[in-house]
Assembly symmetry: C2
Homo-oligomer: 648 residues x 2
């Protein structure tokens, strides 16, 4: 199994090219200007807490100060460095698909600064260098040093792959050497892992890219050492206090850190959602290189816990702002949830690694769900505003008055004090090409229907389609004898495949395998009807409610288009009565769906005792794809709609 | 208008005497032992926050230390003193109705300690005396000095009224003199009010009890000065920092403190619920003595905001743990709410003051709702365990895993670090006699049906009834010509009044007025059918759901009796099919209600797309009065039940 390089996949999809161009021409220059503090933007704290850094980024200034190029103090989170690394990674992906000398020059300039900030030992973390040099590698429960190293590695690989320039990759490799010297099983080495997982998956990418055994071993070490001694983090705290290096003596929440036991013994998605999922991604990656049945089994159990019990219909995960975390099974509140953009991104990564491990349709289903909904909702259509939290239900007054919703923002801010999401969005969407096709031993799978050309040494494969705004895909193949495994999406009806120059040799409920040789043309047609989604009755927040999906898009209603949204009830049966219009009022065309619904009456006061039910008025409910919400100003919004209750 | 003294009202009700006896014989001795740290109990923080004091009470020890009778440091909240004062108040009420030499001796002993703790100036607050003597009356935004003074006053009145012993009343009056010296409109006096209202209503009680004009003026001052200078609290903080007395420099949330404008200009229930309602109680009390149309108008507006938009069906108020506060209109989550026992108690007080001001049935309706539900739920039937937070929906796993519900406890703890609720429960229930009857100029209203004898100089009035476990009340009257105004509860059907020796002279939808002379016997009969409650559709948490009430009791289901509670759906029409049984398995007999319901099936996983609906199984739903929940061990619970949705 292998994935294709981004420069092998030329995307021609209007939908995805909108984003790819937007990110290259708008988002990345904008983000750089923010990281450099060059423009005046509203940098908001990601949740209501006066102690959180906000107001500016300072990320690049931190590197300059550490490099001796500027004077001042570190500002921002202890992981502020990672914002720059993720930006660099996004640039790397963009440059793999499109030349852009301006972006490249800006990246080179940043790389020069980063390289100068690196210590002679290889160590690189501006927070500890500038603030707490004595505490390097000594506060792993919160330090994010290895987390930042991981993002440096990912950025370095992407940029090296794009440009062949070795400078930032050398920086990363030198940092890895420093880490390998300090961490490991040998006596005197640190036997602990970063509180925030990330280095593990990055080291595995680096192993994949360089073949350096050291990287695989180190990744394996971090996965094995985590939770091995659950007292590790408390011990380091106590030691720091004893050594007079810190007065911090906090309790350590091992669940939050997924350090209550070794990853291979974990079965549940618990704690901080991004950490959980970066760890799971690394676990699923690691078993692709090293046999480890326990670890593989843990991956599937964690996956099941998420997708069977803890996943929002939008692909969001993390039900609570407290610890940005997973909670118990079926506990999916729609209005106080977290659903951090980064957590959805991390779930995309985990899903794809599992798919590579075991190519089942369910992984692509989730990948697609999270991509078209919970990830895309993370950025505005202008590419310059970003959600950290992606709610499924927003009541404007409630968000204004209820501090339980202090983290639920009504509009995407310019930037965030904790700016993990904006560059994560940029790097992930910029690498969309990697998710479309996967090469298996004797087949190529078409995971996502995205107009594109895939060119390899052995074959050329072309998808022509206006999907998601069209219901047919033409696939052109030219090359060696092969098996094309075409995804049969669960949301499609009347799915038909006709081949010229190929034969359908297998069909399951989610895949159609076509044997092709030399040259083939495959026509795929299907319908994307509006689907009514019902949740398991154990999910209390959705009892008596339905949600809607059309193709890969979950739909939502906004109060902007539906002033009576709060009182809207949807009929139980309307399958043939809804209307679909291709709307062009936003930068991206989309299918506007209108369904007949009803509007119940409110009354003065709160409660009625044995009250007569009133006859609801009829109304039209206008629905738009969820990811497009909050692009037209402040609006209430909801994904789940109460069903009409006929009262007699 | 006047209320009757507790020693004029002899309660014979089995239901209420259970509580009165329980509090006198179990609760008050237990609470004293806790306040004295004499017994080993589990003192829990009221919410998840490691910085909150817990583990012990230390309330009386603080007084001892301040009195020089013991050595050590202050422990607990800065308002820990008030726990002891409220206990004393409860004892005062109990001693007004029943002699108890042991309780009286214990109270005298406590009073001796309190009196010795008082400074020669009259000042009395152990936190500031022991910890921050330089900051007396200088940190009003949080200090609770006057809040504690208020509770001292209320306790002193109750105890003096019961025993005629002047010692604690003298302590209170000397403290009031000190307060009057420091606060007021004159130059050099402090022009600000305590961040936590309470002194205002206490001073008005003291004015009522002693006739001292100073008390009325001071109460009026505190109501007038609040919010007059919204910068007052910030200015005192800045001054303390400038004077080197404190390094605390927090922002001040004026909404939380109801200090964003003068009370007479406030129209909404906002901020900390108990503060809001103690203030409102004082406002409604004040306008009984001083003409103030603006203030009276504000009372009605605040009342309407609460009862029309912010009141749980249980009589709970305060939708959020953050600031224990009111939020926006119709925002009433059932599972993350606060509904502090003290807030329901405060609402009872506010309702009764409004009733005295304008004797409308709606005030008694709320008074009764809050009394029989949200207040009684605050204590276990053993009188020794107490809820701070009174949820309407509890899912055991969600409470365990979801920190958003960290404040929602599954069992009533032995005691709380912030122990405002336990003695508040004790003092309020002990004074239940004051709410049953009200004397108006030419009439007596029977507000609550509680078996009791009311004896005044002019008449004797006796209610004989086994209500709430019976559907008839006999009223015997003997005395001067009078009008008896009998409440016609909204939950009663077939309400009939027959008189011997009296005539019905007026009848509205909520009152029946009977003219009586010399001797009369009135027979009231009614039915208490099971009522189905529907909430305004603007309340999102109850859409598609119903709740149940029978007589004054809101009903709930527990998972203990209904293992499939989460999946239970109630039919739309079952009015004649439910069963009622007088259950005797708990210390108090109660009506167990069983209704035919159905149970939907859960499935593996989360979502279904255009899934077939399954035929639900039938089940019996067993409902108990809400206030009795959590008396039989850990259990899930809910008040609102989704309605069955017929899918075709």
């Amino acid at each position: 199994m292998k994935t294709f390089r981004l420069n092998q996949v030329n995307i021609t999809s209007e939908f995805w090219n909108y984003y790819l161009d937007l990110i290259r021409t708008e988002t990345l220059p904008y983000q750089l200007a923010v990281l450099k503090d060059e423009i005046d933007v509203d940098v908001q704290a990601e949740r209501q807490d006066a102690s959180l850094p906000a107001g500016k980024s300072h990320a690049i200034e931190n590197f300059k100060i550490a490099a001796g190029l500027s004077e001042g103090d570190h500002f921002g989170w202890f992981f502020q460095d990672s914002d720059a690394y993720k930006w660099l990674e996004a640039v790397g992906y963009q440059l793999q698909i499109t030349e852009d000398s301006k972006l490249e020059a800006a990246a080179d300039e940043l790389i020069d600064i980063i390289a100068q900030a690196q210590e002679s030992t290889g160590y690189l973390n501006t927070y500890f260098q500038l603030r707490y040099p004595d505490l390097k590698y000594r506060q792993l429960y919160f330090s994010h040093e290895l987390y930042c190293a991981g993002h440096l590695i990912e950025g370095a690989i992407a940029y090296h792959q794009a440009t062949g320039k070795a400078k930032i990759l050398d920086v990363a490799l030198r940092f890895v050497d420093d880490i390998a010297e300090h961490f490991g099983w040998a006596e005197g080495q640190i036997q602990g892992a970063d509180g925030h997982q990330e280095i593990e998956l990055a080291l595995l990418k680096l192993f994949d890219y360089t073949g350096k055994q050291q990287c695989l071993e180190l990744a394996n070490f971090f996965i094995e050492v985590r939770g091995l001694d659950p007292e590790f983090y408390r011990k380091e705290i106590v030691r720091n206090v004893k050594d007079g290096l810190s007065s911090d003596n906090p309790p350590v929440d091992l669940t939050y850190l997924q350090a209550y036991s070794q990853p291979k013994h974990q079965e549940l998605a618990l704690g901080h959602a991004v950490r959980m999922l970066y760890m799971s991604t690394a676990m699923a990656k690691l078993v692709q290189y090293l046999d480890n049945e326990e670890l593989e089994d843990a991956c599937y159990k964690i996956w099941n816990d998420i997708t069977q019990r803890k996943l929002y219909i939008t692909g969001g995960v993390g039900s609570t702002v407290h610890g940005e975390a997973f909670v118990g099974p079926y506990d999916l509140p729609n209005d106080t949830m977290y659903c951090e953009t980064c957590a959805s991104i991390a779930l995309l990564y985990f899903a794809y690694e599992l798919f590579k491990l075991s190519p089942k349709g369910e992984y692509i289903d989730v990948m697609e769900r999270v991509l078209y909904n919970g990830i895309l909702s993370g950025a505005a259509l202008d590419g310059k505003h970003f959600f950290y939290v992606n709610p499924l239900e927003v009541d404007i007054e409630s968000c204004r008055f209820n501090p339980d919703k202090g983290h639920v923002k009504l509009e995407r801010p310019d930037w965030l004090g904790c700016a993990c999401c904006p560059p994560n969005f940029a790097r992930t969407i910029s690498s969309i090409g990697t998710y479309i096709y996967t090469q298996f031993e004797d087949s190529v799978s078409l995971n996502l229907y995205v107009a594109s050309n895939l060119v390899t040494e052995d074959f050329e494969l072309r998808q022509e389609t206006a999907f998601p705004n069209d219901d047919s895909v033409s696939v052109f193949y030219k090359g060696v004898s092969n098996h094309l495994v075409l995804r049969k999406p669960y949301w499609a009806t009347e799915f038909k495949v006709t081949c010229r120059g190929g034969d359908i040799i297998a069909e399951t409920f989610d895949w159609v395998t076509v044997a092709v040789s030399n040259e083939a043309e495959i026509e795929i047609v299907f319908k994307q009807p509006l689907l009514t989604i019902t949740a398991n009755p154990l999910v209390q927040s959705t009892v008596g409610k339905v949600a809607f999906q059309k193709g890969p898009f979950v739909y939502c209603g906004q109060t902007l288009q539906n002033p009576s949204l709060d009182r809207c009830r949807v009929p139980k049966h309307f399958q043939d009565e809804y209307e679909t219009t291709l709307a062009t009022d936003l930068a991206l065309p989309y299918s506007l769906v209108t369904i007949p619904a009803s509007k119940v009456s409110a009354w003065d006061g709160l409660y009625r005792f044995n009250g007569d039910s009133e006859v609801p008025e009829s109304m039209s409910l206008h629905l738009i794809p969820y990811f497009l919400w909050a692009n037209q100003g402040v609006s209430g919004m909801r994904v789940w709609f109460p069903k009409e209750v006929v009262d007699d």
